[in-house]
């Protein structure tokens, strides 16, 4: 099931990806969005580059095997960037929902047959699974940012003092595995 609609979508990979990329940039100011879109050098524009590459991989999973590990890997660079930017969590994952609208605009919102309705439902369900995975990735990134905030000072300065035996009495010795 799913071949007909999925094949039609896959055939329009480039224009659909272009629309999806534009939609993903909507949370940014206009000047920023045009920079992210136009500058193609991956080292001069890592945000644009990783967003574009990530969407390509997501697209291929959406109409392909929908391997959740591959989906998570594709989501990671996009959400990792968004987790440290100004976007709210909702704004950060919104681009995934937006693909539903792009599809409805391109292929029509009302399915003409029960089979088409089933395919559309399947497609929307896949996008929903991507959104759920995106929440997980986003939260994992936020948690990592918080951990870095909490641990950086300890790992840098405190550990140097600790190694030198300048800060901690012997009886408070922590287990070896601590914090490494």
């Amino acid at each position: 099931m799913g071949e007909a609609l999925f094949a039609r979508i896959a055939k329009e990979r480039a224009p659909l990806l272009s629309l999806w990329f534009d939609a993903a940039l909507e949370g940014y100011a206009r000047d920023t969005a045009s920079f992210l879109k136009d500058r193609r050098d991956p080292f001069a524009n890592p945000v644009g580059h990783h967003t574009r590459r990530g969407l390509e991989r997501l697209f291929d999973e959406l109409v392909g095997a929908m391997d959740m590990e591959a989906v998570t890997q594709a989501l990671d660079p996009i959400l990792r960037i968004r987790a440290v930017q100004h976007l709210t969590p909702a704004r950060a994952v919104e681009f995934l929902f937006r693909f539903k609208r792009i599809l409805s605009e391109r292929f029509g919102a009302a399915p003409r047959s029960a089979e088409a309705a089933g395919l559309l439902f399947e497609l929307h369900e896949r996008i929903d699974r991507m959104v759920l995975a995106a929440f997980d990735v986003y939260m994992a990134c936020r948690e990592q940012v918080m951990e870095l905030k909490a641990n950086e000072m300890r790992q840098r300065t405190f550990r140097a003092f600790q190694r030198a035996g300048l800060v901690r009495p012997e009886h408070e010795k922590a287990p070896e595995a601590d914090g490494e």
């Binding site: 001069a44 945000v47 580059h49 440290v84 990592q144 790992q155 840098r156």
Partner: protein, 549 residues
């Protein structure tokens, strides 16, 4: 007739996803958590005798400013325009061509248009036009002018502390406008109102009172070095004997205190100690450390010209007192910008010192003939070039190294080849990052100019993205697992950046690599590196990884 009920499709299509477009002056600043550093502790501001020490909180509506704060800023602005011709020129000549707009790592990473260098400068220029240009006064907003207000002040503060003064933008400006200089002036003006950040103000006060940014007192400084001595003995079987405040030593060595107190810089500090021991054993060179001049960095540079001068003077006072011939400086970033570009005007010429000559090779460091201060990496490069070091780079064979050009040595003094020359002589596997991310085009670590606090981690991670992205490229392409640098802020800031963006890449100073390769007279078999990791295991791991690759 009742209006037709809208379909879900109609409703959906009415939703606007694009943020409303407004002129930058009309877009209010939102001081966002994770992007700003905490306000300066008033005690630190008072210690330095800087104006208007007071408690305040950037996210509150009342910053407890002096009543005449606008007048203070206006007069401060005027004074600096008269004093610094470059500032006046930079205020006047920008034609807003946009060449700099997408070159700032903070803009690239955060996507905030006010981090475009041109807009950051416009923050000051808009007030400059209003206060000091007739056209600006007449035409107001049409001419890009606006009066100083509390909203503008908030914007200044937020964005002037989102610039690491790295000068990448200036490289692309057809007029050579140095936005770093504009940030420097802007921060000076903010300091007139007591509006520094604590990550700068307290280190400066510490350095002023105790000799180093961390406020470590002399005995603790010596204790840490003594600990390194024990550690080196454990790993090499050789007990090095550092000198402290020794009058008549050949050279005074000064490095950022971060090398002595923060991992992984501590391993770089061990590298310094081993190199000096080697040079004394082999060639009789006497290098002394000082607990008084125990800070190579200079956060005064991020406060005001006067504060920078006061901290810088300690180095030279100590060199004079100890009657050394010249000063050798450790692996630091902004320290070298201060030495190379400002020191001579502020505290120079240091004519009580000798023009630096490497007594082992006879090389005369002409570029340092006035400042009398040589970068350790060029000193080591000179030693290697003359075959004066006994090196076994195979001990670093488990490493695939890339080099991050720190902004200040690279763009501030054109220091590109020496660190690469040293690394290539102590490591067998070296890989460059893409050309538009290194040398003069290097991307900042995202934490320079006093912005390596913990509370602004989002800013640091977003600003460090362009650098991390280039590291990720060589990590994936060549299996790079070590990022070398010659700056203490880099060593402090890059590990978190790598953890977030490129896990699997560690950070090192160049002299940690040198020391691991250096054969000390009388050493044992050397089974571990300076981090205490077994070479055998590291090599086996590396072989496993390249087999997988």
């Amino acid at each position: 007739m009742a209006e037709a009920k809208p379909t879900p499709q109609d409703v959906l299509h009415r939703i606007q996803h694009t943020p409303p477009r407004s002129d930058w002056m009309e877009t209010p600043v939102e001081i966002r958590k994770g992007m700003y550093c905490y306000a300066a502790n008033p005690k630190s501001v008072a210690t330095l005798g800087l104006p208007h020490p007071h408690a305040w909180n950037p996210v509150e509506d009342d910053w407890h400013l002096p009543e005449n704060w606008q007048q203070i800023l206006h007069e401060g602005f005027k004074e600096r325009l008269e004093r610094f011709r470059s500032f006046k020129v930079f205020m006047d000549i920008c034609v807003r061509c946009g060449a700099c707009a997408d070159k700032c790592h903070y803009f690239i990473g955060t996507g905030d248009p006010k981090n475009m260098p041109v807009l950051r400068a416009e923050l000051l220029r808009s007030v400059y036009r209003n206060d000091f240009s007739r056209m600006g006064r007449l035409l107001g907003k049409v001419n890009g002018a606006r009066p100083m207000s509390f909203e503008v002040l908030r914007e200044w503060w937020y964005y002037l502390f989102q610039c690491s003064e790295c000068r990448r933008c200036s490289l692309f400006c057809p007029y050579g406008i140095d936005t770093a200089e504009i940030t420097i002036m802007g921060r000076e003006l903010l300091n007139l109102l007591g509006l520094n950040i604590d990550w700068i103000a307290t280190p400066v006060a510490n350095c002023y009172m105790n000799g180093n940014h961390l406020g470590i007192q002399p005995h603790a400084f010596k204790d840490m070095i003594d600990f390194f001595v024990d550690d080196i003995e454990e790993k090499t079987g050789v007990r090095v004997k550092p000198r402290f405040m020794e009058k008549g030593a050949d050279i005074l060595f000064i490095t950022p205190s971060g090398d002595v107190f923060a991992d992984p810089g501590t391993y770089t500090a061990m590298g310094y100690l081993m190199l000096f021991h080697y040079l004394e054993e082999k060639y009789g060179l006497k290098v002394t450390w000082s607990t008084y001049a125990s800070e190579g960095g200079n956060f005064g540079f991020f406060t005001s010209h006067e504060t920078m001068k006061r901290l810088n003077a300690k180095m030279y006072a100590e060199a004079k007192r100890l009657k050394v011939k010249w000063i050798l400086g450790g692996e630091c970033g902004h320290m070298w910008r201060v030495i190379h570009q400002y020191m001579d005007t502020m505290n120079g010429p240091a004519d009580f010192l000798e023009v630096p000559v490497n007594p082992i090779t006879g090389t005369r460091f002409e570029q340092a003939r006035s400042t009398k201060m040589v970068h350790l990496v060029e000193f080591t490069a000179d030693l290697i070039h003359h075959g004066k070091l006994d090196l076994d780079p195979r001990r670093n064979d488990y490493l695939k190294v890339t080099f991050h050009d720190s902004c200040n040595p690279s763009r501030g003094m054109g220091f590109f080849e020496e660190p690469r020359y040293v690394i290539r002589n102590v490591c067998n596997h070296f890989y460059e990052m893409p050309a538009n991310t290194i040398r003069e085009q290097t991307f900042c670590c995202g934490s320079g100019a006093g912005l390596n606090a913990g509370e602004n981690m989002e800013l640091r991670l977003a600003g460090g993205l362009p650098r991390a992205n280039a590291v990720q490229h060589v990590h994936r392409k060549y299996g790079v697992n070590m990022l070398a640098c010659i700056c203490a802020i880099d060593r402090a800031a890059l590990p978190a950046l790598m953890d977030y963006w490129v896990p699997g890449v560690q950070v090192t100073g160049v002299h940690e690599l040198v020391a691991n390769a250096l054969n000390l007279p009388g050493q044992n078999e050397r089974t571990t590196n300076l981090r205490g990791e077994e070479f055998e295991e590291l090599m086996a791991q590396a072989e496993g990884q390249s087999d997988e690759g």
